[in-house]
């Protein structure tokens, strides 16, 4: 705990120092860190929600890919971004339900089930992809009145698109739901010891279905953010491995929504700083070394601050009611 506060203090002082030296660049770097980190954080939530209830989900990449695809082409065909967003979230939920069907009902090996989703998503989106479609616009930046004029914090936190705000708020909502509500307690119980939860009257199957579907919807939101707010286009292989990075951030954040958000922002900062080293050209370090920065920093922080990391006990095991 003390090392965590120490890290906060160091980060704060570092940001203050750089802000005094060059406010424009510092603001830009931290703002970009959020742009880099947020889709990873949202994708990590998919993993957290699934694994907390005992389902391993390595199909996040597929969920991102297929939901961004459906979101983009719905928005493109209808000319309506909201419709695109809704369809992306729905598609995400459907991919979650598919995972439940494979892993919960059919009790398939969950790694294979996730792989099926990844392969399906790659195949289907590649097959149906047509070049030359565009969307009328992307979700515009919304400056929150008042808050956005605060120096530093305004541009960093309160000048983003609506899906960024939605993503950040939902991450905190998920944290509250997971730790402070009966639903959260039951979900975690199902992930740790499903037979006890069952004895206490919790429907393991129903809860797993529900949570994996909600998790999928979260992935759909991440996909919609990538295509409808951040980039504004779609290409084959659009998610570019973000679903896998998200899994690592989930572990880095110890299966805790806020932890994973912090991990993602940290990773995003390392990426933005790497970029900045090349942008400002003050120090000409060989590019191969700057390339290592996000990874080296991650290892360092893990070594300093991470204690023992423990996954939910029942993850990966299908639930057999009559087992005992």
């Amino acid at each position: 705990m003390r090392s965590r506060w120490l890290m906060f203090a160091i980060t704060f002082i570092a940001i203050l120092y750089f802000y005094m030296r060059d406010s424009l660049v510092t603001t830009s770097v931290i703002g970009t860190a959020i742009t880099f980190g947020l889709p990873l954080a949202m994708a990590a939530m998919v993993g957290i929600m699934c694994e907390r209830t005992g389902i391993v989900n390595i199909g996040i990449e597929g969920t991102l890919l297929v939901s961004s695809f459906v979101g983009f082409f719905t928005a493109s065909a209808s000319g309506n971004l909201i419709l695109g967003l809704i369809s992306a979230v729905a598609m995400g939920a459907i991919s979650g339900l598919l995972l439940s069907l494979l892993a919960v009902t059919w009790k398939m090996d969950q790694i294979i089930a996730g792989t099926i989703i990844n392969i399906l998503a790659t195949g289907l989106t590649s097959f149906f992809y047509k070049q030359g479609h565009t969307i009328p616009s992307t979700f515009p930046e919304v400056d929150i009145p008042g808050l956005s004029s605060i120096p530093f914090f305004g541009p960093v936190l309160f000048m983003h698109g609506p899906l960024t705000y939605a993503g950040i708020i939902l991450i905190f909502v998920l944290w509250v739901a997971l730790y402070k509500t009966p639903w959260g307690l039951r979900s975690r119980a199902v992930g740790e010891h499903p037979s006890s939860a069952d004895t206490a009257g919790v429907s393991v199957i129903k809860l797993r279905y529900l949570n994996v579907a909600i998790a999928g919807a979260f992935g759909g939101l991440a996909g919609a953010y990538l295509t409808l707010e951040l980039v504004g286009s779609w290409d084959r292989g659009f998610s570019a491995g973000k679903g896998f990075t998200a899994l690592a951030l989930m572990i880095f954040g110890r299966w805790n929504p806020i932890g994973a958000l912090g991990a993602a922002i940290f990773f995003g900062t390392a990426q933005a700083v790497t970029n900045q080293l090349m942008i400002t050209q003050v120090v000409t370090i060989p590019q191969q070394f700057t390339n290592m920065l996000p990874y080296v920093l991650t290892i360092l922080i893990l070594a300093i601050s991470a204690g023992k990391v423990r996954a939910p006990a029942a993850e990966g095991q299908p639930y057999e009611k009559e087992q005992a």
Binding site: L24, V25, T27, S28, V29, G31, T32, T35, F36, P39, V56, I58, D109, I111, I112, G114, T115, N118, I119, T122, S126, Y129, Q131, G132, T134, I135, S137, T138, P155, L226, L230, V231, G232, S233, D235, R236, G237, F238, S239, A240, G241, K242, Q271, A272, T274, N275, Q276, M278, I279, T280, Q281, Q287, Q288, T290, N291, P294, G316
Partner: protein, 345 residues
Amino acid sequence: MKKRIIASLAAVAIATLGFSASPASAADESSCGTAAGFCVGLVTDVGKVDDKSFNQSAWEGAKAVASQLGGFSKYIETLDPKDYASNIDLFATKGYNVIVTVGFLMADATAAAAVKYPNIKFVGVDQYNGSTAANYTGLGFPEDKAGFIVGYLAGYLTKTGKTAAIAGGPNSIPPVRKFIEGFASGVAYAAKEQKKKYPKASTVYYTGANAFNDPAWGASTAAQYLTQGYDVIFAAGGKTGNGGLAKIAKKKGAFCIGVDTDQWNTVPEAQPCLVSSAMKNISAGVIDIVKGIKAGTDKGGNFVGSVGAAPYHALASKVSASIQAKVKAVSAKVIAGTIPTGVKA
């Protein structure tokens, strides 16, 4: 736990082993290897054949020349660099006459294949043939010249004096490095002409494992540049660059420059900012070489393709007539070599 790791590795292996092949065109694959058949196979680098830039132009060239010559064409998209050789083998064992490989990173695999299959002709796009093999032709481009021309344009268009490039791959890939360094010297040349002191054009090279294939990274990096007042940005690098172009298009007053092909047509979402593209005429180069092979005049070695800047399209109104004239004049001199780009080959 161990089981899980093995399972994950197996899953990753399965996912990367796969490749997608194109549907057949006019002639038939069964004609390959017969005296009458003329078959052109194309193997992409880890990029995609519809990347709206270099893989796509190479494939368009291969497809066009095969149908002009009454032959058959097909492509394989490589998903993992380990598969370069085996993807080439797939075409070679079916008796294809010409195999086109796309991308600098495939040079070694192509040179090896040329030795292994002496009766098949190989064309390497963005590759330099350092061997004496007569059945291997490298198609190279003076990317630095294309980069210089659009850099010169950027040097006249910028209002803040801050110009930048987003590279979709590392600078260890020569075509990437030559585009970027050419761009920077073009900007410097224009600044000197105007007697202005602009900072050297800045560049961010892609740093992850998904070179040329990460649009979200391109967009985020573009955002980072835009918030720091960079107003002319050259996005050079497949889909990564395309993501950057799409992001810049949303910023009022910023210009973006595409790469490889005229991206006005291939990346329509970039049209609000896309003032030009640094073009390599890859299709034309592939067509010329394959025709030479068919006619029996091709002797291997290296073929230098042509480059240039794409037209301004609708943004012509934002580039004054005097700048247009200057770019035209400089462009001719750069291509002729009378203005050196100062970039080493």
